[in-house]
Every structure is written in C-alpha cells, then in structure tokens.
Amino acid sequence: MAGKQIKVSRRMLFTWCMLGGFILLLSPGSLTSKLPLAFARVFGFPLRVGRSISLSVNSQQPGPGGADGMEVQYQNYIANLEAELEQERRKVEKLSGLRSRRPLEGANLVFADVIKASVSGFQSELIINRGRRDGLARGQFVLGDNSIIGTVATVDTSTASVRLITDPASRIEVTIADTSRIMQGAGGNSAKVEMLSTEHKIKLGQRVYAKKKPGLLDVAMIAGKVSQCKVDGAQPLLWDVTVEPACNMETLSSVAVIIMNSQKGSKR
C-alpha cells in the first residue's frame, strides 16, 4: 500500500485546481485577505531585504515637485501646522477663547516598517510589521513623511495591510478649496476628487487635506496636492481634479499609524 501511486487524469486535475481557484475567488475577503498577510509574515526578512535594495536604487529619484525626502517631510509638516492653526483659529472664534487640547495629543503613533509595497501595481497597498496586538484596527489613518498616505485595510496578529489613497478602492473625505469632497484612488500614483463644481477656484499645487474624522483623526492633515485640474469632459460643470500624494510612497520604509483615544498614552 505504501508504494501505491495515485493516478489522476489531466482533466480531473484541471477540474480540481479550477475548483480550488473558484473557492478562493468566492470565499469572503475577510478570510482570503489573511493569505497575503501570512505570506508577508513568513517571508518578512527576504521581502524587507528586497525592498531595501529597491529603495536604495530608487533613492536617487526626487520626490513630488523635485523635492528630496527631508524637504517633503518639512513641507508636509508646515502644511499640517497651517491646517492645525486654521482649525484652532476657527475654534477660537467659535468658543470665544476657550482652548481645547492639542490635536493628536491623545493619539498613540505606532511606528511600523514596510515589509512589502505594491505601489505601482494593480493595487496600491503596503504591508507593515504591526498588527492587532499593537492596537491596530481597520480604518485607522496612516502617516508617511508627515502626510496621510492611507488607512488600515486588514489586520492580522502581527501584520496589517494599508490601503493607500491612490488605490482604486480607497475613498476618503478630503477638504479642498474650503469644501469637503470624496477623494478616490485612481491607481498608479494619483487620486481623483469627485463632484467638485467649477465654481470653486482650484490651482495647481493646491493642498488637499484629509478631513478630520472623530475617533480616527483629530485634525485635518495633508494628503496630497493638485497635479492636474481640467473641466470634466462628460460633465462640464464639474472639475476633473487629479491629486498626487504629498510624499513619494514608493520610497517609504516606515510609516506611523494614528491610534486615537489610545489607552496606552505612550508613544512607541
């Protein structure tokens, strides 16, 4: 019996494999999304080595607008301060001088290394080496070079995937030209702002802020800049606004996840 060889016809083999494929396809995403995370966890070391090679080769490439990494960080930091200042000014006006605590003061920033990045492929996502045991949960905002780069999409025990703002599945509320709109990822390295009337004045390079979201983001933070703005061919009363991320997401080696109202209070 030990030496008995099981013979399976090609047709049966093909049928079983197809069946396996369809089971994978039709299984709930909450189950199948754990497989890529498990792959990233098992092969974490070689993926990190490969990524560092890729980063070292790409380090010569300039960031958005020709700026280098540090300059992008400072620009984003200043943009966030301006947004914070504007928000505080409005509060001051409303509350007649009553001050509240500083934005992100109660937040816990969990720093994570990027294990795997799919920025230029069909999907735009990062896999990071922090997970549920570090307090990560779905929907939390993720910072890269002081700008919002995406949200946590799936969480495993020790890894998580970050859906970048450029991913076609990403839809986040943003503030542009003093109005709130939805920004959807367009694949590659861009996103689109939807339903923006031509009554609003939009300039190239104008900042686009991720809107504050109670429980997830205390203050508006920069997410990108307008890289193209033209009248929508299909709907002439609307702008077709293309936004590029505020940082070069391909070269990110570490990110920070914002955990609001954290019980820990200490920063990692």
Partner: protein, 164 residues
C-alpha cells in the same frame, strides 16, 4: 519535474516579483515585467502537460499572493497555462519570437480574465488597467525568452528537448 527545485524557484521568483522588481519599472505608470507570467509560459512550454497544469495553478496562486487578491490569477493563469500546454502538444513553441508571442498573448488573455474575475469579487480597479495589462505583457514578452535559459539551468532541463 524536480518538485523541490520547482517549489524553491517559485518562492524565489515570487519574492523578487513582490519586492525588487520596481527597480526596472519604466514610464510614469511604473510598468515592470511579470516574472510569474514568464515562468508560467516556461513551464507550459518545456514540461509535460500534467506538470504544466500543476505549475500553472501554483504560479497563479503565487501571483495572487503578490497582488493581494486571492482567486483571479489562480484561475486565469491556470486556465491559460493549461491551454498553452495543450497547444504546445500541437505546435511546439521553441523559437524565441514564438515564445515572446506566447508570453504576450497569455499575458493579455490572463490579464483580461483576471480583471473580469476581480470585478466579480467587487474589487475596484485602476482606470488605466488595460494600458497596464498591455504594457506589462509587452515588457514581459520582450525579456521573457532570455530568462528561459537560467530557468532551464535551474530546473535541470535541456531546452532543445521536445517533451509533450
């Protein structure tokens, strides 16, 4: 087929595809070759049909792991890898131009079917997905036949051997 060598090879190529391949990506769309597609055609062309069927589904599964959406590429790679293996029994794809053509055709077809299956899974897709499929297939077709030699060396096969 040397299955241990096959397993190691698929793992290494998957890791390379997932991490370092951005280095040779070109244009604003960041188009790079699909090494797993090249591997799929290699196994379909140089191995017998049964081995090619198993290899096609395994490579498809690896491609799903790289992309992060499970199912579409397992099915599309499996389907067209098997079809190419059967076609190879009738028309042997041995010359480099034909191998390039096979990579390009399988890339386009598997890409389109994978895209449709992703839609079935309610996965939003990039607006430039068709351009991306076309250029990725073309890039893979351009370099693919040259990568067959190191693949054949690792798998310890003779590329001039006819094995149907």
């Amino acid at each position: 087929m040397r299955w241990v060598r096959f397993a190691i090879f698929v793992c290494v190529v998957t890791l390379v595809q997932a991490s370092v391949l951005d280095v040779i990506a070109v244009t604003a769309l960041r188009i790079g070759p699909d090494l797993l597609l090249i591997l799929l055609v290699f196994f379909a062309v140089y191995f017998n049909t049964t081995e090619a069927v198993i290899a096609a589904f395994t490579v498809g599964f690896a491609a799903d792991l790289v992309v992060g959406v499970m199912g579409p590429r397992t099915i599309s790679f499996g389907m067209f890898g098997t079809a190419l293996a059967y076609l190879n029994r009738v028309i042997a794809v041995r010359q480099k131009p034909y191998q390039s053509l096979a990579i390009f055709a399988v890339g386009i077809l598997a890409g389109l079917v994978g895209h449709i299956l992703s839609l079935l899974k309610s996965q939003p897709v990039a607006s430039n997905i068709l351009a991306r499929i076309f250029w990725t297939s073309l890039y893979s077709a351009a370099i693919g036949p040259f990568l067959f030699l190191p693949c054949a060396w690792w798998m310890r096969i003779k590329t001039h051997r006819f094995n149907r």
